[in-house]
């Protein structure tokens, strides 16, 4: 039975191989998939969680990190309520690419979108990016920051639950991210459309 009250779209982006798919699988299926290949295009997964006493349906879009899928993945930014930007704490290059990703987000996503920076694979011994560097970067760019391990299931549940809670708070105050090309509504008051279009209120 589809008896959820809110529906949120969460999109994961970041370089290939940083562990986006693993994070999603860990959260939706509770497992760490061995040897699954790179994602092709986008994958789509759903999980319903409970926040307070309300059912919240998370629609999770796991995008491919490889460059050649960019034209597919970009088209999902616009309707996202939350964007999770993932890098691999044991790989400097994945961290170095973050500004490029931010530029993409700036260009395609709603400016109200909830943005979270995630440093993944903290179970690994060969860390290259210290936690405070990641945190500092997130702060500078106005993002939440969280370090995770899809393998050890560290902070994965927390990551998604935090997002669900935050989006719920936003929905309550009718301030859901919604793409507006010029961010202007008809008579200056905030648009109420989002309320019905983004989070379908069902019985």
């Amino acid at each position: 039975m589809d008896d959820y009250k809110f529906l949120f779209k969460v999109v994961l982006v970041g370089n290939a191989g940083v562990g986006k798919t693993c994070l999603v699988r860990r959260f939706t299926q509770g497992l760490f998939p061995p040897g699954q290949g790179a994602t092709i295009g986008v994958d789509f997964m759903i999980k319903t969680v409970e926040v307070g006493n309300e059912k919240v349906k998370l629609q999770i879009w796991d995008t491919a990190g490889q460059e050649r899928f960019r034209s597919i993945t970009q088209s999902y930014y616009r309707s996202a309520h939350a964007l999770i930007l993932v890098y691999d704490i044991s790989s400097q290059p994945t961290f170095d690419c973050l500004p490029d990703w931010l530029r993409e987000i700036e260009e395609y996503a709603s400016n109200k979108v909830l943005r979270i920076l995630v440093g993944n694979k903290i179970d690994r011994e060969d860390r290259e990016i210290p936690a405070d560097v990641g945190e500092e970067f997130a702060e500078r760019h106005n993002m939440y920051y969280l370090e995770t391990s899809a393998k050890e299931s560290d902070n994965v549940e927390k990551l998604f639950m935090q997002i669900a809670e935050d989006l719920m708070k936003q929905a309550r105050t009718r301030d859901l991210p919604r793409y507006d090309s010029n961010n202007q509504t008809l008579d200056g008051k905030t648009s109420t459309i989002s309320d019905s279009s983004c989070c379908s209120r069902l019985q």
Binding site: R78, E107, S196, S197
Partner: protein, 1019 residues
């Protein structure tokens, strides 16, 4: 202490004893029962004893039977042991035979194989080797150990082993030779021999490599001819797609042709290996074709330009770089979709083939899973897939650009044809969107389709809708729309994108068209959604649940476009409301204020004959609506009429609340509301009942025969209405009916409140209570001034005031003889006036108490009537309450001339009521009653009255014996309040009586109204 313990013990022993007695009784009963049974049982036992010999016989027989069975089982055990050893023996014989036949075959094979090789009969040789290889090699070794003639057997084995390797070499060599010689027959011949020699993998590898080389040659040729295709050729624009098609068709043909051969000679389950080899060539060739394609079509340059353009346009309106005409991309896009689809089809083909082969040939589930996994790896890691993804990426870039640019163009070239409700941009835009989505479906890629749908949502929501929104934002200039002018000039102005503010006609038309466009677009979006879903289901029939979820999520983006459009429409309608509807409607409706709503019967007929308010209003509305009817889409027109209805009803409600009505006025209003609702119903397709609910109820209330009938509709009983008016509002409406029939007072409630004698809150509270009070004799509303009098009489004690009000109306209803028909023309009142003096003392006491004075003028008892006298006494009090309310009332009654005969004219019931009213229902404090010149009969009378009056009241009645001196009198009533005859400073009592008559005359209208209002309360 011990005593009580003892008593307790005794008690419990007694209880125990009683229990035991009871048990004893039960036991005795049981014993009796048993004794009864004894006889019966003894009979039975006798019967059994007779059976004993028979049973002994049976026991013996059973013993015999057991012995026999044991014997049988032993012997069958023995038999089965024999059979087992027999079986073993047979198996050994079989094995022996097999070994022997193996040995014989070994011998034959080893002899035959050499000959066959020498004769170049490789098939025969291979068959011998195959026979040898199919023998159980370990068994052979065991046989060799068991036998004496080991040497010959070992020789045969060695011979065969040698022959096998010899044959392997020969066959491989011969196969290569045949390939080189293009000797198809030999190729096939040796291909078949490989598996006989246990060279399955090698055979497939060799053979498929050969096939691969063939494919390569053909592909080369095809590509060359493609490159040489002249531009004039019909297929020139899709020549690379055609080349790919040839490639994949060729590959598929080879696969289809060779599959039976492989299956027959190599067994099923080997297709994956074969196809993997072919795939390498497929990858190479596909890449080559795409490389050439990219070069010829300058694909990278185009993509780069597009990226640059979109970057520039998002940062600034930079127009230096030439735009690429979207139309020019059309052909290229089609070619890409074709190529992509070909690759997609080929991949599906491979997939299907291998899966089928595995299902047939690989019984083991685990092995099958392995095959599926390697198949997926094969496809995923192939260059073919890489190429496919690149093509899709190109396609998406180009298509998105195409869509954006084309829609921008459609919007820029927007035009309106005469007589049309919508302009060209809507049809054009949705045509483009449709086309792009269709094209994306033709790629066969769900991801591709989803991206284009997402893009369509973006373009529709921002680029397209923003234009509509922008046009509506410019507003609707108030005034009427003149169609004939509008169409002419609009055409050119829309295209220039800007309307001059002076061209109000065009601005109006542009506004209306934008509104219609928005409405029309919502329909387009819905249709688009439906059709797209159907087409996708047809093109991709095997969508799984996850794919479907993905697709539906993207499609739901279109519904948010609809919501956006509806929002725009709503905005537009609100614009119309404030600029075109409200300013017009208000003056029309306000005319209502100039109408007379207090009609006589004659006026009513005249009104009905002439042109009524509502007819004029409807005519005006009709004119207003008709100016929109044909230019707006029907659903926009409906929205407009809804807004108009809301405006009219709200405004009408407002002006009604500013008017007052009599019964006929209410009747007319009710009719008018009905015909207005009727008119609006006729013009629209939605139900107006809801919008008219309040107005209808207001009219119903004003149209009541009697206001108190409101109770038929109010409350929770059957027939009660679901009110859309709050109780306060309802009270307000009722007040409109009563306003003109107000009681005449020379003061107002607000003055008294201002003086601080009472509060508005108290008045309001009483009014609220009145409205919900259920006693039918109390009216729904009471005039504020009267309420104030009640409050003053109770020192603002609300509860006491409520009680007083109830008594007031109750007694007045029960005693019409005292309280109704107070016209002075009435004979009994005139007679009473002649018999007695009724005086309103014009001066108040120092305590602001009013005084009435009554005395007998005519002592003739036959002229005396009790009820009219009572009536007049209250009328006197009313004269006192005309102006500034007195604090209380004092009665001064001269009883001189009161006789036994008067006494006979009195009746206890009215007197009782009279005094109850005086003490509990009077809207004035009853301060005192002074009876002068008392006598025996009066005291008798008081003795009777005492029986039903309470102490409180009795204390206020004071009796004075004749002979009271003037000074003594002046102590009770001050001299300035007494007539001359009683030593006072006022005129003589006759003059005062005359003046009082005049005062009473002035109050006649008051009583008339009071009675009517009071009687409008249903009893």
């Amino acid at each position: 202490m011990t005593e009580s313990k003892y008593a307790e013990l005794q008690k419990s022993y007694q209880q125990e004893l009683k229990k035991l007695e009871k048990e004893e009784d039960a036991l005795v009963d049981e014993l009796n029962n048993m004794l009864n049974h004894k006889v019966f049982l003894e009979d039975k036992i006798k019967g059994f004893a007779k059976l004993i010999p028979t049973l002994k016989v049976i026991k013996h027989e059973a013993q015999d039977l057991v012995n026999t069975i044991n014997n049988i089982s032993e012997s069958s055990e023995k038999i089965s042991g024999n059979i087992r050893s027999l079986d073993n023996a047979r198996n050994r014989v079989d094995e022996c035979q097999a070994r022997v036949s193996d040995l014989i075959d070994l011998e034959i094979c080893s002899q035959g194989v050499q000959t066959a090789i020498l004769d170049s009969d490789y098939e025969k040789g291979a068959a011998h080797v195959h026979r040898f290889l199919s023998m159980d090699q370990s068994l052979l070794k065991r046989t060799a150990n068991d036998m004496d003639s080991t040497s010959s057997m070992l020789k045969s084995v060695r011979t065969l082993q040698d022959a096998a390797s010899q044959l392997r070499a020969i066959v491989t060599h011969k196969f290569t030779e045949a390939v080189n010689a293009e000797d198809l027959v030999s190729i096939e011949r040796f291909f078949k021999i490989f598996p006989l020699l246990g060279l399955h993998e090698e055979g497939i590898k060799e053979f498929c490599s050969y096939l691969r080389s063939k494919v390569a040659v053909t592909a080369e040729k095809n590509l060359k001819s493609a490159l040489n295709t002249p531009a004039s050729d019909k297929r020139h624009t899709v020549v690379y797609a055609d080349t790919l098609t040839l490639l994949y068709e060729g590959l598929a043909r080879v696969t289809d042709k060779q599959q039976p051969l492989i299956e027959t000679y190599y067994g099923p389950g080997r297709l994956l290996a074969a196809i993997s080899i072919l795939q390498k060539e497929c990858d190479v060739q596909t890449k080559r074709v795409l490389l050439e394609w990219g070069k010829t079509r300058q694909i990278n340059k185009k993509i780069q330009m597009i990226n640059e353009l979109s970057r520039l346009s998002s940062s600034s309106s930079f127009n230096k770089i030439d735009r690429i005409e979207p139309k020019d991309l059309d052909i290229l896009i089609v070619e890409i979709t074709l190529m992509h689809f070909r690759i997609e089809l080929y991949i599906r083909f491979i997939h299907r083939k291998i899966m089928l082969d595995a299902e047939v040939g690989v019984p083991n589930q685990e092995d099958r899973n392995k095959i599926v996994k390697s198949l997926e790896q094969l496809i995923k890691n192939s260059d073919l897939s890489q190429c496919k993804h690149e093509l899709l990426s190109h396609y998406l870039r180009l298509e998105q650009y195409y869509m954006e640019e084309s829609v921008a163009k459609a919007v820029a070239m927007d035009s309106l044809e005469t007589g049309q409700q919508i302009s060209s941009m809507v049809d054009d835009t949705f045509f483009i969107i449709r086309k792009c989505i269709r094209r994306s479906i033709s790629t066969g890629s769900l991801d591709g389709i989803c991206v284009i749908i997402n893009n369509a949502c973006r373009v529709l929501e921002s680029d397209f809708s923003e234009v509509l929104r922008g046009r509506l934002r410019q507003g609707y200039p108030s005034g009427y729309l003149d169609l004939t002018q509008a169409y002419n000039v609009l055409q050119s102005s829309i295209q220039q994108g800007r309307l001059q503010s002076s061209d109000t006609e065009q601005s109006r038309m542009a506004f209306i068209v934008a509104l219609n466009n928005s409405d029309n677009s919502t329909e387009y979006v819905e249709a688009l959604c439906d059709n797209v879903l159907k087409e996708i289901e047809q093109a991709l029939p095997n969508l799984n649940d996850n794919d479907r979820g993905k697709l539906e999520s993207c499609l739901s983006g279109l519904s948010s476009v609809t919501i956006n459009l509806k929002d725009i429409i709503d905005y537009g309608i609100q614009q119309l409301r404030s600029s075109a509807i409200k300013p017009r409607i208000n003056p029309w409706v306000d005319q209502f204020l100039n109408m007379n709503h207090h009609l006589t019967d004659d006026e009513l007929s005249a009104y009905e004959a002439g042109e009524s308010f509502v007819q004029t209003l409807i005519m005006n509305l009709e004119t207003l609506l008709s100016s929109f009817k044909d230019v707006l889409t029907s659903s926009n027109y409906d929205l407009l009429t809804q807004v108009l209805t809301a405006e009219v009803t709200q405004r009408l409600e407002k002006v009604i609340m500013k008017s007052t009505f009599n019964r006929l006025g209410g009747l007319v209003l009710d009719k008018e509301v009905r015909s207005l609702a009727g008119y609006i119903t006729a013009t629209t397709s939605w139900s107006v009942r809801d919008k008219f609910a309040r107005l209808t109820q207001i009219a119903t209330v004003l149209n009541l025969e009697q206001v108190s009938e409101i109770y038929d509709y109010w409350g929770s009983h059957d027939g009660a209405l679901t009110w859309r008016l709050t109780p306060t509002e309802l009270r307000g409406v009722i007040a409109l009916r009563l306003e003109k029939m107000s009681l005449d007072f020379n003061f107002t409630a607000s003055e008294i409140i201002k003086e601080g004698k009472t509060t508005q809150a108290s008045v309001t509270e009483l009014k609220k209570w009145l409205f919900t009070n259920t006693e039918k004799f109390v009216p729904v509303t009471i005039q504020d001034e009267l309420i104030v009098l009640f409050l003053l009489s109770c020192d603002n004690d609300i509860e006491l005031a409520k009680k007083t009000i109830k008594v007031y109306y109750k007694i007045r209803r029960e005693c019409p003889d005292i309280f109704d028909n107070r016209s002075l023309e009435r004979a009994e009142l005139q007679k009473a006036f002649k018999t007695m003096r009724f005086v309103t003392i014009p001066v108040r006491t120092v305590n602001n108490d009013a005084v009435v004075y009554i005395s007998l003028r005519d002592v003739n008892t036959s002229n005396f009537e009790m009820l009219p006298s009572m009536k007049l006494s209250f009328m006197l009090m009313d004269t006192h309450q005309y102006g500034n309310p007195p604090d209380g009332i004092i009665f001064l009654v001269d009883m001189e001339g009161f006789t036994a005969m008067h006494l006979t004219k009195l009746r206890p019931d009215p007197i009782n009521k009279y005094f109850i009213y005086l003490s509990e229902g009077l809207p004035m404090k009853f301060k005192a009653m002074y009876l002068l010149n008392s006598n025996y009969f009066l005291e008798k009378l008081l003795g009777i009255i005492k029986m039903f009056l309470n102490q409180e009241v009795m204390k206020k009645i004071q009796v004075f014996q004749p002979g009271l001196s003037l000074d003594e009198l002046a102590e009770i009533i001050p001299k300035q309040c007494l007539p001359k005859e009683l030593g006072g400073e006022l005129e003589g009592q006759e003059e005062l009586s005359d003046k009082t008559l005049q005062l009473l005359r002035n109050r006649e209208k008051f009583w008339e109204v009071e009675e009517e209002l009071r009687k409008s309360v249903k009893c």
